[in-house]
Subunit: 354 residues, 4 copies
Amino acid sequence: MTDTRPLPRVFSSDNTAGTSPEIADAVARAVTGPALPYGADAVTGRVRDRLREIFETDVDVLIVSTGTAANVLSLAALTPPWGSVLCHRDSHINNDECGAPEFYTAGAKLVPLDGRDAKIDPDLLRTAVRHKTGDVHSVEPSVVSVTQATETGAVLTPDELGTLATITRDAGLRLHMDGARFAGAVAALGRTPADLTWRAGVDLLSFGATKNGTMTADAIVVFDRALTPELSFRAKRAGQIAAKNRFHAAQLDAYLTDGLWLRNAAHANSMAARLRHGLNAVPGVEPLGTTDANILFCRLPQPVIEKLLADGFVFYHDRWEPGVVRLVTSFATTEDDVDDLLRAVGDATATGSR
Amino acid sequence: MTDTRPLPRVFSSDNTAGTSPEIADAVARAVTGPALPYGADAVTGRVRDRLREIFETDVDVLIVSTGTAANVLSLAALTPPWGSVLCHRDSHINNDECGAPEFYTAGAKLVPLDGRDAKIDPDLLRTAVRHKTGDVHSVEPSVVSVTQATETGAVLTPDELGTLATITRDAGLRLHMDGARFAGAVAALGRTPADLTWRAGVDLLSFGATKNGTMTADAIVVFDRALTPELSFRAKRAGQIAAKNRFHAAQLDAYLTDGLWLRNAAHANSMAARLRHGLNAVPGVEPLGTTDANILFCRLPQPVIEKLLADGFVFYHDRWEPGVVRLVTSFATTEDDVDDLLRAVGDATATGSR
Amino acid sequence: MTDTRPLPRVFSSDNTAGTSPEIADAVARAVTGPALPYGADAVTGRVRDRLREIFETDVDVLIVSTGTAANVLSLAALTPPWGSVLCHRDSHINNDECGAPEFYTAGAKLVPLDGRDAKIDPDLLRTAVRHKTGDVHSVEPSVVSVTQATETGAVLTPDELGTLATITRDAGLRLHMDGARFAGAVAALGRTPADLTWRAGVDLLSFGATKNGTMTADAIVVFDRALTPELSFRAKRAGQIAAKNRFHAAQLDAYLTDGLWLRNAAHANSMAARLRHGLNAVPGVEPLGTTDANILFCRLPQPVIEKLLADGFVFYHDRWEPGVVRLVTSFATTEDDVDDLLRAVGDATATGSR
Amino acid sequence: MTDTRPLPRVFSSDNTAGTSPEIADAVARAVTGPALPYGADAVTGRVRDRLREIFETDVDVLIVSTGTAANVLSLAALTPPWGSVLCHRDSHINNDECGAPEFYTAGAKLVPLDGRDAKIDPDLLRTAVRHKTGDVHSVEPSVVSVTQATETGAVLTPDELGTLATITRDAGLRLHMDGARFAGAVAALGRTPADLTWRAGVDLLSFGATKNGTMTADAIVVFDRALTPELSFRAKRAGQIAAKNRFHAAQLDAYLTDGLWLRNAAHANSMAARLRHGLNAVPGVEPLGTTDANILFCRLPQPVIEKLLADGFVFYHDRWEPGVVRLVTSFATTEDDVDDLLRAVGDATATGSR
């Protein structure tokens, strides 16, 4: 199970990166002296203040230890057990959380919808929000969950988000945003966090810090503050209220200070752009979809894939069609890392074409 | 909600302490370079190795973010939804986890039992393990959960544990130990961790690191390794498998290195002993029960309680009988902290008796 | 498992009785011709109309197949998963439903309270409704469940109910009534069903038909009709919306026609009164508590208990203190049945005293 | 909500039919005298004996009040909460039970698969049983649920069932059969119930009596008897163990006597065949798929659909493609009913074509 080898060439996920030095420093500084437990400490309060400033409104904040917890606590607060969660077929909540949404919601049903670039197709959503509403023989459409940026590295534009949000609101449903890569979307779009969330109708946001620089801390940003008491009770029952919460809060505090969260995300995005630009120039390599944020899909010849793996590069390649590869950059990816990979792809392609 | 005042005189809980410097250093060192996510990293492997050495057997380890999660994942793996968990009436799982056991177990029932020093009375346990077994109209006795050290600061001796474990095993039930203060019990008893757990029949142990020095990391020590796959699936669904698990693991790694965990616990115990010794000498103060570990209960005159609170001391006093106070020390409590409190009690008592 | 012997002398429970002939006739008449499924049929509509008349208000009605289902669907609609249900320690929901309340509520916690005659003590309730409210570390007091008549055969008087209801309402909690023997209480008290339920503040009533004459049909009477959609979805998910609901409805329709439900209950009550009167006259027999409805507890000498069992009488005797016996009458109990038992007790007592 | 009009021309579902006279008689006969509750009575024992004879093996039997309950109790006993249930996209458990499977299984996930005639495609099943097995980030394939007869009225042949069962068993999964119309499949195939269930590898069968003649009773036939205790506890928690179970058992007893269950099913099948034969002769009407049992799909011109509805015929037509109509016969459908419908279709078609 344990792999102790160094991982110099890892493009499998942004969750393989470490943490930002500023964050490590902040955690070290949080060490000394007593503090009230369970989030009643000063650092936790400061995180809430920073998020209120960033989102330009009076949000509440729930600090949790994983993105999964942020997602599924949010869903549980937005749907009854007999409700359905409308989401994209490729979404993380639908594929990669082992039924955590069903566990936390006491058995609500995910309804997967299709759409390009892992974005929910608005026409399909229009139909889905009306599907058998008020019929006790069927789960009741209750919440729409969008992912920003999407699982394929695209971002929902304000217009696209607005369209989905309008359909959602007009049908009386609630709107959740899985912001696992929310910082990347903000960086890519150059719009305010407020425009990309509550102004568009988002009720709850999984803020998504772990992939972008924190160690073990993530957060739910609560725009509909009437949900806060319920979220708090649910978080406690879930084992998600840390006694020494300040050590989570310290990570987020540093993450939100002086724009570190956006700098990290912009860097990850630019590394993906550099990678895509480089791959575009390699004959036989076909970048796929859109790469707005830090995820890039492309098609590679099978011998090239095998050569890269043999060279020690780490990435996913066996989960989609044969030949389709996913490459993910992070705040810690360097230009050398990217160029190293590009060189290897170039070499392998040249060899493979002989 | 947020209290930003300094807390120099806090005896309310060991969860108000920070972390050990060695642990902060280890987390900082875990920062650099990529690592495989979700516990496949080298540090996580090392924690498992250390625990195997400490427990002298091939345990598995599940790292989680809170003691609540450790407890309730363990219970969920040991009881079916129609089972009952036999525990002490004063136990943390019964009182302080907001129904987390019921949530994780999909509705099992906690059956509270009485007993001195927050230890389950063996005679009551003998009756409870047989209560309506095999009767579909009643929950089925399935698991016994003991707390070590107990909620009142006493420790289960090997004999006491053995008695409870024998009753449990003879009735075909499973045995869980909430080791929120397990290190304190090991330090107090001078027995091996193995003797106090699996050799006595414990199936799963909530290891209990957070109160004794780590920041945000706790662990389930799995003695019955057949339970590991189930625990892993349950942990994922609970949002308790951290992507960057190495940052939790690094805390535990340092905690288990060179006996830090036992040194911390021994110190906390000795501070409680110093406090008890000092209080014994104060007229009008009545220490209650047994103080083996780092929790001390005593009875104080009401004016003394009020004077201490006014002086800025922080402790619980309104949860039991009037006049009953709980004082908790930690690895971070100093002799000066204790003596400061003793002096204040002495002064207040003298004043109050005038 | 299966006992094929005749049961002429059964006082173990009112659930051993068959059904009323009027009800059997009604079911037979419901046989012919098609009808809309899932409660959209005319008979179901008639049951609702009858209950509206009986309760003098616009109730909704959910027909279910067991009293357990009626109880736990009601509780699930009145408490969040992090809530607590305050009930008597001896209540059916606490002891005899195998954790069904925890299952349906997704893990809410029953908080058992004491009190004479299986009635919740108002002083204890006053404390319990305030217990750690708003504290995420503890379940939140959410609903009070009273049983009418109680598990020991007493009835809550309008005053007693009013006191409990006022405490409940003033604390902002909801009120459920387990009316497993509601008809018996109405018959005993001579008050209107409305006075004994919604006028006193009851939100949901488990109507309790099965023990008093129907075959397989019970019902939730919904006074707070805002709960109806939620109850309907929950009932469907629970497998409690019968396709051919008219066969359940037909039972209730006959049960509610021409006062059959009250006649049956009055008869069961009078048989218990006859039994108590007779036992009072037997030396060495001590009736216990109050017998308002059709359950009677008494203390018998152990040899008498054994003689009665040997004679083929069926009753519970091993669940409380030694020597304590429960005797239950029903709509089908005859005066001869009672006199037969009284004679046997008299004989056994006389023999036993020699 | 309530429709009190007569329903002479109802082809919407077999659940609109009443009950067989033999069954009504049996229930009336079960009325008199006391009986042990909760299935310990003689009639319940007789049902088990009859099913053992019919299935030629020592089955256990759990009597429940709805087919939904039979299905979801079965699934809950066959999959852990982190498991997935592989089923056809059109299956009742996937579409028509309001998330009851998710509720009873504590959050397992249904994985819908495609295939002709509402039968799972074996190739898709081969892939699905291996999907991410042993990966904690994904639900674990745990049980396959097949429907017999299918939602479109086709039956799984012994060969087809054998193929699916082999894939299931080879992958270490369990096999559930939703036998909502099992009797129809037995009647259509002329094979023994044993061949169509446990000899092919079925672990649990939802027997499916309600649509075919009983009032309110259905049953789980337990081939893997090691599951019986768990099923019993789960049934109790679900409010599915009736106190006066004999009234459910009496229905099944009569249903299983002298082959009534197969006679009813054969009649319903023959009525569907008569209908299909008649529709085949109508120009402009296109019967769809296979009609082995008592469900028939066909395509009708929209004006014909509207004319039939105006004439008082009741059927589903708005749930699939425009123009697609479902017609269901039952044990109570008469030749006149069928001919009446055929005549109306003929008339409407002739009119419509003008």
